[in-house]
Amino acid sequence: MSAQAIARPRVAPNVARLLRRNAWTLGTYGLFVAVMIFTVAIHPNYGPFEVQSLVVGALPLAFAAVAEACVVLGGGIDLSIGAMMAVANVVAARYMNHHDFQTAILVSVLVLVGGTLAGALNGVIALRTRVPDIVVTLAMSFVWGGVALLILPQPGGGAPDGFLALASGNVLTPWIPAGIVLLIVVVGAIWIPVKLSRIGLALYAVGSDRTAAFRRGVRIGPTRVFSYALGGFFAACGGLALLMSTGIGSPLAGTIYTLSAISAIVLGGVSLAGGRGGVMGPIIAALVLTMVPADLILSGTDPNFGQVIQGTLIVLVVMAGGLAPLLRSRRRAIVPGASSG
C-alpha cells in the first residue's frame, strides 16, 4: 500500500510530461481524427477506394514532409526538396521505362543514393561557403529544376506495373493500401535507427542550440551535412512516390512540394527554429492536407476556399501551439509552487 502511494505521484508527472512534450503531435492526431470524422459524415459510402485515394494522394507529400522535417530538425531549411523530387522522378521514369521490376528496384536504389548525395551537397555548400542555407537551397532548387528539364524536356517515361503497385496496390485486405505500408516501412527503417543513435541525438542538439551542442562536443558540420543528406534521401523517396502515383515522369511536378512540405511540418509540430518535433506529426499532417481538398470537393464548397481553409488551419494550429506555453506560464505566475511540476 505504501509502495503504491509512492509510485503514484511518480507515474503521474511522467504521463503528464509525456503528454505535454507530445501535445502538438497529439493535437495533430486529434485534427486528423476530426477531419476523418467530418469526411465520413459527409460521405457515408467511405470505403477502401477512398482510403486508397487518400494514401496514394498523400504519399509524395508525406515523403516531402519527412525530408523537410529532417533538415529543419537539424536547424536548417531546404528549399530544393521539390526540385530534387522532380529530378528523382524524371530519372526514375526515364530509366525504368520498358524494364522489369528488378531493374526498377535497382534504378530506385541508385536514385536514392543520388538523392542522398544531392542533399549532402546542399549541406556541404552551405557549410563551406557560409552562405545561409535558405539562399543555397533556393539557388540549388533552380539548378535541380533545370536538370529535371534537361533529363526529360516534357512529361514522359514510365515504370513497370509491379513498381506502381508498391503504392497503388493493397496488402491482405483492400482496406490496407500498399502505400501506407511502404511509407511506414521506409520511414521506420531509416528514422528509428537514426533517432535512437548518437547521430540522432546530435541532430536534435544542433537543431535546438548550435553553440551549446558545440560546447558539449557535438561535431556540428558532419551533423548538419547528415541532416541534409537525410532530407535528400527522403526527397528522392518522394520523387519515386510521385512516379508510383502517376506512372510517368514530369519535370515540373515536384515544384509544388517544397512549400506544401513546409506547411505539413509546421502543422505536424516541427519547430521552424529547429530541434523540436518528429516525423510522425508531419506524416499525419500530410494526410490532413490531402483530405481537406477532397472534403471540399465532396461537400461542393467553392474550391477557391481551399487555400483559405488550408491557410486558416495552419494559422490556427500555430496559434494553439503558442497557447499551451502561455497558459502554463500564467498558471505558474498564479501558483508559485507549481513551477517545479
Binding site: 516534357q154 514530369s250 477532397a294 470537393i297 474550391p303 490556427l316
Partner: protein, 351 residues
C-alpha cells in the same frame, strides 16, 4: 489580457469554418429530369483561359437542362494531385467528368477507373493517351502553323522573327513549337533571332518585349503563343513602329488589330477557344443519353487577319470592348455548345 482573447479568437474562426462547411454541404436539389451530376477537374487557377473554360462548362450544364449539380475540383496542382481530385469526383458520385488533363499519360489509369464505373470522361483543351476518354481539343500544331505561315508570308519569306512560347515542358507548348518549326523549314529566309518562354503570363512577356526593344535587335515580326496585346502595348509604350504580330483570339488583341491598323499594326489572331470545355460537356451528356460521338474530336483553329476583308469582318464580329483584355472571344464551339453568350459571361451556374 491578450492571453484571454486567444481562445475566443480560435473559437470564432473554428465556428466560422464549420458554418462554411455546413453551408457547402446542403445544396443538393436532384429529382425530375435533372438527373446528371457533372464533375470538373482543372489544375491551374487564376488563369483567364481556364476560368472561361469552367464558365462555359457551367453555362452548358444550365443550357442542357439535364444537370442537377456541378462539382468543381479546381486548384493549382500536378498530375498526382489531379489523380486525387478525379478519384474524389468518382467518390462524390458524378456521372460525367470534364477535365483539362495536366498530363498526356499520367491520368490514363484513373480515367480507366472512372469509365469502369460507368462514368463518361471527356478531356478538353489537351489530349491524353487513354482510349477510354472522349477527347476534344484544339489542334495545337495547326494553331502554330496557321499563324507562322501567315507571318512568314507577310514578311515575303525574309526577315528576323521572335518566337514567344508558353510554358516549357507543357505538351501544348511543345506541339505549338513543333508546328512553328515545321513551318519555318519551308521559309529558309526567315531567321528566329530570339525565343522566349512567357509562361503564358503577362509580366514575363512585358519584361521580355521591353528587353528586346531596348536591345536594338532588328525585329521584323513576332509570333506569340497567346500573350499578344502585352507585346503590342510594349511597342506602343516604346513608340516604336509596329511589326506584324501573331496572337490568339483575346479581346484586347482583337481590339488592337482593328483599332491600330491605321497606325500600321498588321497581324492575325488564331482561335484557341476555352469554350471547348462547354463543348466537352455537351459531348459527355450526349453519350450519357445514348448518342454516339467519335472518341477523338479535333477542333481546327481559324485565323482572322486584319489585312483581308473577310478576316477584318470576323475580328469586328467578335470584338467586345466591355470584356477583359485576355477574355477569349470565341464564345461558342459549333455545333456543340447551346448556351447564351450572356450565361457564359455571367458564369451562370445551374439554378
Amino acid at each position: 489580457m491578450s492571453e484571454r482573447r486567444w481562445p475566443k479568437a480560435i473559437g470564432l474562426v473554428l465556428a466560422a469554418g464549420l458554418l462554411l462547411a455546413a453551408c457547402g454541404g446542403s445544396n443538393n436539389t436532384g429529382g425530375g429530369t435533372k438527373k446528371y451530376v457533372v464533375g470538373i477537374s482543372n489544375t491551374l487557377t487564376g488563369n483567364g483561359f481556364r476560368e472561361e473554360m469552367i464558365c462555359s462548362i457551367k453555362a452548358q450544364a444550365k443550357a442542357s437542362g439535364v444537370v442537377s449539380k456541378v462539382i468543381v475540383a479546381n486548384r493549382n496542382t500536378d498530375p498526382s494531385g489531379q489523380i486525387a481530385d478525379v478519384r474524389n469526383l468518382i467518390s462524390a458520385g458524378v456521372n460525367v467528368i470534364v477535365m483539362n488533363p495536366s498530363d498526356r499519360s499520367a491520368l490514363d489509369a484513373v480515367i480507366k477507373e472512372a469509365t469502369s464505373k460507368g462514368i463518361v470522361v471527356v478531356t478538353v483543351d489537351q489530349g491524353v493517351t487513354s482510349s477510354d476518354a472522349y477527347q476534344l481539343y484544339n489542334n495545337q500544331v495547326k494553331y502554330a502553323t496557321l499563324g507562322a505561315d501567315w507571318l512568314f508570308k507577310k514578311l515575303n519569306g525574309t526577315g528576323n522573327v521572335i518566337e514567344m512560347r508558353g510554358i516549357n515542358g507543357v505538351s501544348a507548348d511543345a506541339d505549338r513549337h513543333t508546328g512553328f518549326t515545321q513551318t519555318l523549314a519551308s521559309y529558309p529566309g526567315i531567321k528566329v533571332v530570339k525565343m522566349t518562354f512567357t509562361n503564358w503570363s503577362l509580366d514575363p512577356a512585358a519584361q521580355q518585349i521591353k528587353d528586346i526593344l531596348g536591345s536594338g535587335l532588328k525585329v521584323d515580326g513576332i509570333w506569340t503563343s497567346g500573350i499578344d496585346s502585352t507585346v503590342v502595348d510594349g511597342y506602343t509604350t516604346a513608340k516604336k513602329p509596329y511589326v506584324p504580330t501573331i496572337g490568339a483570339d483575346n479581346d484586347a488583341f482583337i481590339g488592337d488589330l482593328i483599332n491600330l491598323k491605321a497606325q500600321g499594326l498588321s497581324g492575325a489572331a488564331v482561335t484557341n477557344p476555352p469554350t471547348v470545355g462547354g463543348a466537352g460537356l455537351a459531348v459527355g451528356l450526349d453519350v450519357l443519353q445514348g448518342k454516339s460521338h467519335p472518341h477523338l474530336i479535333n477542333l481546327d483553329p481559324a485565323i482572322w487577319d486584319n489585312q483581308s476583308t473577310s478576316g477584318l469582318s470576323e475580328l469586328q464580329n467578335h470584338y467586345d470592348p466591355k470584356l477583359n483584355a485576355y477574355y477569349s472571344v470565341t464564345y461558342q464551339v459549333a455545333p456543340y455548345t447551346t448556351y447564351t453568350k450572356d450565361d457564359l459571361l455571367k458564369c451562370a451556374d445551374i439554378g
